[in-house]
């Protein structure tokens, strides 16, 4: 008798991945196909763990790929398509969050961080520069390192 283990559905390692969306589609121009691929790569599948529309095998992802494809064929612009999706599913569908007041820290944080880091580092260097004395290690440390290398190390 084979027991089913329903609780396991919740416990399982939830890596769901299957080659999804191998869907030959016809486009009028290669530029449209490029736009289609770029769009489905940047739109999020809402029901999936963390996948874009291109990667997901979920039914909804398939429908939204169809939707994207049809809108492209109908001559709608990328912005219009993104607006369509956001209007129905919210900013959550965008893997590229829009730059707004609330995402300013996200978008500008890294640049601020690296600039601040570089400035602090250079200030630190300038403060230290010009006092070159030649001693790298303190005398104590020098002695210890030498002792170690010569084999008379650290016998407690």
């Amino acid at each position: 008798m084979k027991r089913t283990l329903p609780a396991l559905l919740l416990l399982s390692f939830s890596l769901v991945a299957i080659a999804a969306g191998v869907e030959p589609r016809a486009f009028d121009r290669p530029e449209q196909e490029a736009r289609y691929r770029a769009l489905i790569a940047e739109l999020r599948c809402l029901v999936c763990q963390n996948q874009n529309l291109a990667e997901s095998d979920a039914e909804l992802a398939r429908d939204l790929r169809d939707q994207t494809y049809e809108m492209i064929r109908a001559g709608r612009s990328d912005d219009e398509i993104v607006e369509f999706m956001v209007g129905r599913y919210g900013d959550f569908v965008l893997y590229r969050p829009p730059v707004t007041v609330t995402t300013a820290l996200l978008w500008f944080g890294p640049a601020v961080l690296v600039t601040l880091g570089a400035v602090l580092a250079l200030l630190y260097v300038r403060r230290r520069a010009g006092r070159t004395t030649g001693a790298t290690l303190s005398e104590d440390e020098e002695k210890k390192a030498r002792a170690l290398l010569s084999g008379k190390a650290v016998d407690p």
Partner: protein
């Protein structure tokens, strides 16, 4: 009975970890030699107990003991033996056991290959590891016991996720965990240094090779994971910026920074406090990654099943370990500060900038990974932060780093002349621009700034590494001197070449890849890039625990036979979805990648075909980096330390490498 032995061994290990974490610390503080001496035997006893536990769990998998819940959830009798074994670490509970086991292994490694380490330092390091171990063992015993029984006992188990039934993924977690856990050693050294209030050259020479070995494992682990997702997931991608990937990249970036800052601390005695802080960051980020992946606060492709109790536990654990070590740092940092001085134009400055960029990159990834959580927590709405964000933030940080990387090794320590450098290097820079641009034209042209810039920089690294090597060899009388060069130097050159190869692989493959989805009937052909693909139909093949539909695709180029590929779709009995097994034909300069889609009308099938130039360079570059790390870790001066100490059990270069591998 066997699982109970395993469970009991875990409980004993917890007790031993408590001894290992507490007695030596009191011993060193109060000067009680007997208590100090408990550290090493306790670490060894713990390793033994965890080996018993791990053995018991492995045994339960091998004999398919479905009375153990974890076994029943992740294995069944039809699963091939090798995947019954790899299932031991295939899910949450078992992977924690592997963590704990590797932690004990690293601790014992430090005590075995101590290379003249003073007893007190060994004791402090082992105690720190012991304290971390207490956390992991408690976590396992309280929330995630791999030995929990299942009643009633099912006659058949569920199955390990078929995606994980793959040699690449059987090996990926142990490698990656070796890296994550290995960062505990520099961390423990840093904590010990803070307790002692001293960071000296000897300390650096002890902790540096350990950091290198851990970094090598982390590098290989990440590369293996990326390679696996490339050939197994069927999307042709190799990096998805998923939280679980970010969780491994963040400690890697910081560990890379740490390696460079250790170099400065060793050679010049500078950046001491910073080095210690980076060592703390590195391990903290590996713990944070554990939290992110296992607590359910983020949505990730690879997330482990989450449970609020687990999340709360790891959070407390994280707060205890990271909080206390940062507090210790804040308190003791002044004691370890100081060091040699240097001028603005010096290798120290460049390495400091390297650290700034690496830490900023790591922090940016952390920011992007956690931003949706911040927004949600503050009630500002739900957003997603994905690959478009990470690419646009990471690439502009990575490219200057590659520029610095070429320059750094050619600049003198302490002080150099900017004008002399410029005079010496402008021909190299010009050659890099010319050769890099020529390469892009050769590869397909276009005026994509990113690919030109990356290629030029990759060539720049190649040329500067060559220039540096030539300069050294001239001093040593030609090529014959190559093997006389210090391994640390060779290691650096090899690792930096690895970065060049990686950069080229990423830039070229992401710019010039060709992709097509086609429906093909039997006998029909499609052209992708300069290859023709002829579909010759599908056959059904039974596998050990799945039924495969195997396609045959004949690949030709200008009429000449190139390869016959067999992409598969596998239907596992336990799964509703079928899994794809892409067929890949790799050459040095390109991969041809065919994945089988769905049956279409008649005998036609949909197929996805990629031509990905230079993609293998991504993983070869990573392997070179790891090789460089290994070379550097086996440098003569670390061996000298060992010989100097003449400790029984301390050994030569290969032994050091073994310390990681066993």
């Amino acid at each position: 009975m066997i699982p109970e032995i395993g469970h009991f061994a875990l409980i004993l290990a917890l007790g031993v970890a408590a001894v290992q974490g507490v007695l030596p610390l009191i011993g060193t503080a109060r000067g009680i030699p007997g208590w100090v001496a408990t550290a090493v035997p306790a670490a060894r006893a713990q390793l033994l107990l965890l080996l018993v536990a791990f053995g018991a769990l492995t045994y339960s998998f091998v004999v398919s003991d479905f009375s153990v819940a974890y076994v029943a959830h992740n294995s069944n009798t039809e699963q091939p033996l090798v995947y019954r074994i790899s299932a031991v670490w295939g899910a949450h509970e078992g992977s924690l056991l592997l963590w704990a086991l590797l932690l004990a292994l690293w601790t014992v490694g430090v005590s075995l290959f101590r290379r003249g380490l003073p007893d007190e330092l060994v004791a402090r390091v082992a105690a720190t590891c012991g304290l971390v171990s207490i956390g992991f063992l408690l976590f396992m015993l309280l929330t995630s016991n791999p030995f929990d029984r299942l009643i009633p006992v099912p006659t058949q188990g569920r199955e390990l996720n078929p995606l994980l039934q793959d040699p690449g993924l059987a090996l990926h977690p142990p490698m990656l965990y070796m890296g994550y856990v290995g960062l505990v050693v520099p961390f423990a050294f840093a904590v010990a240094a803070l307790m002692e209030g001293r960071v000296d050259a000897a300390w650096v020479r002890w902790s540096r090779p350990w950091t290198l070995v851990a970094w090598v494992f982390l590098t290989l682990g990440i590369a293996l994971g990326s390679w696996w997702s490339y050939y197994e997931l069927g999307w042709g991608g190799w990096w998805f910026w998923d939280p679980v990937e970010n969780a491994s990249l963040m400690p890697w970036l910081v560990a890379t920074g740490l390696l460079h800052s250790l170099a400065v601390t060793e050679k010049r005695g500078a950046f001491k406090a910073w080095t210690v802080l980076l060592a703390i960051f590195g391990f903290s980020l590996s713990l944070l990654g554990t939290f992110l992946v296992r607590s359910g606060v983020l949505v990730s492709v690879h997330a482990f099943a989450s449970d609020p109790a687990r999340g709360v536990f790891i959070l407390i654990f994280l707060a205890a370990v990271v909080g206390s070590s940062l507090l210790l740092y804040a308190w003791r940092a002044p004691a370890v500060a100081g060091g040699g001085s240097f001028e603005l134009m010096s290798r120290e400055t460049l390495l400091l900038l390297n650290n700034v960029v690496l830490v900023a990159a790591s922090a940016s990834i952390l920011l992007g990974t956690l931003y949706p959580l911040f927004m949600d927590a503050l009630g500002l709405g739900k957003i997603s932060v994905g690959p478009p964000y990470f690419n646009s933030v990471f690439v502009p940080l990575a490219l200057p780093l590659v520029l610095l990387l070429g320059l750094g090794p050619l600049v003198r320590w302490k002080e150099d002349s900017a004008s002399a450098l410029a005079r010496a290097l402008w021909p190299t820079a010009a050659a890099a621009v010319a050769l890099g641009t020529a390469l892009v034209v050769l590869l397909g042209g276009g005026t994509v700034v990113g690919v030109i810039l990356s290629t030029v920089l990759a060539v720049w690294v190649l040329l500067t590494a060559g220039a540096g090597l030539a300069r050294r060899l001239r001093k040593r009388g030609g090529l014959a001197g190559l093997f006389g060069l210090p391994r640390a130097y060779l290691g650096m050159v090899v690792a930096h070449l690895g970065v060049a190869v990686l950069t080229l692989g990423i830039a070229v493959s992401s710019t010039y890849s060709k992709e097509r989805d086609v429906n093909m009937g039997v006998g029909e052909s499609a052209k992708v890039g300069n290859h023709d693909f002829r579909f010759e139909g599908v056959t059904r093949l039974p596998g050990p625990n799945y039924l495969a539909t195997q396609g045959t695709v004949r690949v030709t180029r200008e009429g000449r036979e190139v390869a016959t590929l067999h992409p598969e779709k596998r239907q596992y009995a336990s799964q509703s979805h079928s899994m794809t097994e892409a067929a890949i034909h790799s050459r040095l300069t390109r991969d041809i990648y065919v994945a089988l889609g769905e049956a279409a009308q008649g005998d036609a099938w949909s197929l996805r075909i990629y031509n990905k130039p230079f993609i293998q360079w991504i993983w070869w570059g990573s392997v070179l980096m790891a090789l460089g790390g290994l070379l550097a870790a086996t440098d003569r001066r670390y061996r000298l330390l060992a010989e100097a100490a003449r400790q029984p059990g301390a050994g030569g270069p290969s032994r050091l490498a073994l310390a990681g591998k066993r």
